[in-house]
């Protein structure tokens, strides 16, 4: 499982009080625990204490699950049945003893923005034991009508192309859209309207408020040659600089990556559909082909545990194996 963690993990220990202990929420995974902006990770042992539920981790106030890149409609190698693997992900969510407060879907719900693909995704996700699912679009979800269909289905009561924020048990959540109006030669883009909105949105928040930002394309530059970054994310992060705890959750690259920069932790989730190669290890970022019996070990979901007051956020990436 160590293969899933790619460098950039800051090992300078500062405050690890109340370090969360939990082994194996759903078989395999990696436990990330964040304390005061410092991240520590340890591999989870397969099958160990599998009955333990992340939501019952010591001191945890609430938990939610990030699900990403379900690509309903994709039917090629290495996954001819992405609906089945999304269903497995939902089954995993439902197998937790305590349901998460909600789900975050970080985009690429569909492969081609087809109504039938959105229908299937909604049908499967409806089966998840979660009171609500919050979405942000991926570029695959806005291929028609400039994203209007996405807004009608998943982005009601949002601003602009689908951005919004909400508060939950003392934490401030911000869903951003960085897959629209992309410029030739560039990366993902938030655009001036959204940046202005973001600046206003966080203006009156106390700096002690934990902030969780989620968007499809990574908000830090993972690998520009493959477009894995967002051109104007610096501005967004600038508005969030004064906050003591900022977590950024992204999808798009179909693999787990993690980076800590000051008080900001960046994390990308696995896909529920197909894996993509590590940066620069293939001619292009296209779907990675893996043997059928290994597919589920490279797909997964992220279970995020929030601990109020101690600025800690624990992310467990569980595969579907």
């Amino acid at each position: 499982m160590a293969d899933f963690i790619r460098d950039n993990i800051n090992k300078d220990g500062i405050d690890r009080r109340g370090f969360l202990q939990c082994m194996a929420w759903a078989g395999t995974g990696v436990l990330y625990s964040l304390h005061g902006g410092i991240l520590k990770s340890l591999p989870l042992m397969q099958g160990a204490a599998s009955g333990m539920d992340m939501a019952k981790m010591k001191g945890a106030d609430f938990s939610f699950i990030q699900i990403s890149d379900s690509h309903i409609g994709f039917s090629k190698e290495a996954n001819p049945d992405v609906t089945a693997t999304l269903q497995i992900a939902v089954d995993r969510i439902n197998s937790a003893a305590a349901p998460p407060d909600f789900l975050l879907h970080t985009g690429d719900i569909s492969q081609l923005s087809k109504p039938s693909e959105f229908d299937t995704a909604e049908q499967v996700l409806k089966g998840a034991k979660a009171s609500r699912i919050f979405y942000v679009p991926g570029e695959h979800d806005v291929l028609t009508d400039n994203g209007q269909q996405y807004l009608d289905r998943f982005g009601k009561n949002t601003k602009g192309n689908g951005w919004y924020s909400f508060d939950h048990k003392g934490a401030h959540f911000i869903g951003l859209v960085n897959v629209m109006d992309l410029k030739a030669g560039g990366l993902g883009s938030l655009g001036p309207d959204q940046l202005k909105w973001l600046q206003d949105d966080v203006r009156d928040l106390k700096s002690s408020t934990p902030v969780i930002v989620f968007a499809h394309i990574p908000l830090w530059t993972v690998y520009p040659d493959w477009g894995w970054g967002t051109d104007d994310s610096e501005h967004a992060l600038g508005y969030l600089k004064r906050f003591g705890s900022v977590s950024v959750l992204n999808g798009h690259i179909h693999q787990i990556m993690q980076k800590v920069e000051g008080n900001v932790t960046f994390h990308t989730a696995l896909s529920t559909a197909f894996p993509q190669p590590a940066p620069g290890t293939a001619p292009s970022p296209g779907p990675m082909k893996v043997p059928a019996d290994q597919l589920r070990s490279v797909l997964g979901i992220s279970h995020v545990n929030f601990v109020q007051g101690s600025h800690s956020l624990a992310i467990v990436d569980s595969t579907l194996a």
Binding site: K76, E77, L143, G186, S284, G286
Partner: protein, 120 residues
């Protein structure tokens, strides 16, 4: 390079000769090393346009074919002159260039993919 061109040229002539001998109509694409005025093709493969630059006479139609496992959107840089729908695997998109000029284009959902058409 010159020698290779000559060999390809003579092979084309030979093929035409065989085709004629067999009673078939000559294929203009085989008979000429120039891109025919009627059309040019660009393959989208591994998140890139190939060839990245092509030169065509005014009035030519360019056809893009997506050979990737992921969709792409062929769009002029200004998003106005031409823009395809999302092209799934093996889907095509064609556009006819009537006026001379250099036309830069990209994939609207993978903007790192850029290329250009030179119309003479």
């Amino acid at each position: 390079m010159k020698r290779n061109k000559w060999m390809i040229g003579s092979a084309a002539i030979l093929a035409t000769a065989f085709a004629l001998a067999a009673g078939a109509r000559p294929n203009p694409a085989l008979a000429s090393s120039e891109i025919p005025a009627s059309g040019a093709t660009i393959k989208i493969d591994n998140f890139s346009f190939g060839p990245a630059t092509i030169t065509i006479p005014a009035g030519s139609t360019v056809t893009w074919t997506n050979s990737d496992d992921v969709p792409h959107v062929v769009s002029s840089d200004d998003n106005k002159m031409f823009k395809s729908k999302a092209l799934d695997t093996d889907d095509h998109f064609s556009f006819t260039f009537t006026k001379p000029g250099t036309y830069n284009y990209y994939c609207a959902i993978h903007p790192k993919m850029t290329a250009k058409i030179v119309v003479q």
